[in-house]
Symmetry: C2
Subunit: 247 residues, 2 copies
Amino acid sequence: MSVLNPSLSVDCVIFGLDTQEQALKILVYERDIFPDDNSGNKNLKFPGSLVADDESLDESADRVLKELTGLKNICLKQFRAFGDPARIKYDEEREWSERHYGVKIDRVVTIAYYALIRIDEHNPDQKLIKDKLRWINIDDTDNLAFDHSYILAKSREALQQDFIFQNVMAFELLPKKFTLQQLQSMYELILGSKFDKRNFRKKIGKAEYIVPLGEKQNGVAHKPAMLFRFDHKKFERSKEGIRNFFI
Amino acid sequence: MSVLNPSLSVDCVIFGLDTQEQALKILVYERDIFPDDNSGNKNLKFPGSLVADDESLDESADRVLKELTGLKNICLKQFRAFGDPARIKYDEEREWSERHYGVKIDRVVTIAYYALIRIDEHNPDQKLIKDKLRWINIDDTDNLAFDHSYILAKSREALQQDFIFQNVMAFELLPKKFTLQQLQSMYELILGSKFDKRNFRKKIGKAEYIVPLGEKQNGVAHKPAMLFRFDHKKFERSKEGIRNFFI
DNA sequence: CCAAAAGTGTTTTAATTACACCCATGA
DNA sequence: TCATGGGTGTAATTAAAACACTTTTGG
C-alpha cells in the first residue's frame, strides 16, 4: 500500500442494533497500550486509521473498517471532520499514535463516518473481535480515547437527523421478516424516545413500503405477531416526495 | 504564521441574499492564472486555503475568509469533507496550487464550510472585491474550478436541511425591520420553492419570534407593508421543542 | 388458567391545502 | 384613476394525540 498521510485519518462509528437485547450499541476497538489499569474507557476508540495518499476518504473508510473489523459492504456515511489541534490530548496518546502508525504525528484531522448495522447479521471477524473489538452499550461510553466521546455525540445527532430525513438505510437493521414491535423498538432506540403503539401502527399503516406477509411468528409464549417485510423499491419511490417540511 | 499543511485545506461557500434583486448568490474568488481566455467559470473558486498546523479547522475557515474577503464574525458551518484524490483534476490546477501556496501539492482534502449572509450588510472588503471577488447568481455556476461545482451542490443540500431543521441563523439575512414578503422571499430562495402567501402568513403568525412592529413601510408606490422584527431570545426558546418530526 | 405481548377504534384537536377579492399608496 | 403589491378568511381535508380493553398463544 502507498504512503499514509500523517495528518489525515478516518474513524468509523458503527452503530449496531441488538434485536434480542433491544439495545443500541457501538463497536469499539481496544488499544493495547494501557493494558491493565483501571483506566475506564480510555483504551477504547473507534476503528480508524490514517488515510493513504491514493485513496479517497470513502475508500479509506471502507478499507480501514474491513482491516480492523472484517466488516465489508457496509454503507458508511461521512458526517463531519474533527480538527482541533488539541484533539490528541495527551502525550501518551500521541506516543501511541506514533508507535502504532510508525510515522511522526503532529496533528491529525479525522474524517468521521457512521454506519448502522444489525449486530447479529454482520458480525465482525471472529478472531479480531476476541481480543480487540467489543460492542458496548451506547449509554455506557464516557471517556473514550482521544476525542471519541465527542465524535460519538456528533454521530448520534447526524444519525438521528438523517434517520428523520429518511436518507438512511435503517431497514437493514431488522431481520428480513420483522414484527411491528421490532420496528417500533428500532425507531425508539435510534431516536431515543418512546411512541404510542397505536399511533405508531396507524402511521406505519400508511407507509406502503412496509408490507405484511401473510405469516405469523411461532414459538412465542404469547399471541404471535404478524410478520412484515420492507420493500426497497417502494421505499425509493416514496423518498421522491420529501419536500413538504417547513411550510 | 506557522507552517501550512500541504494536504489539508478549507473552503468557504458564502451564500448571499440579495434583498433588492431577490436572488441568492455565492461569493467567488477569481484566480489569476488563466487571465483572459473564454474559460467559462473555471477561474472561479470559493475562498479557501491550506490549513495551518496550529489552528483548528473552524479557526482556519474564519482566518481564510477574513484574509481573502475581509468578512469577519461570520457564522460558518462545517458541512462536509471532500477527499477524492482526483479532485484537483488538471495539471494546471495542481500547478496553480503549488505556485499559489509555495509548497509541493500531492493531494488535498478540503473541509468545506458554508455561511448565509446579507449581501448589502456584510460587504466584503472593497479593495479585494474589485479585482478578485464577485457575487454570482446561484443558478449561474457551472464549471467552477477544481470540484467546486460539486461542493456547491452539496452545500445547498446542507443549507436546506439545516434551514428546515432550524439550526440555522437565517434571520441575519434580513434587515432589522422586514416585511412578510421579504421573509417569504427568503424562504423561497433558500428552499428553492414557492409558497402560498396566505398559508405562509398563517404559519408565520404562529411563530412568536416574528414580532410585528407598529410601523409601516413608506415611500412605496403601493399599500405600505407592516414591518416585523426577529426576536432572538424567543427563537432560541422555541428551538427547544424540536423533537416531533417523524412519529 | 395465567402470563405476556398482540392487536385494535374513537374522539378531539391541530395543521394543511386550496382559493379570490378589496385596500392603500405614489405616480 | 391606475398600477402595484399588501392584506385578509373559510371550508374541506388530513394528521396528530390521547387513551384501554380483548385476543391468542405457550407454559
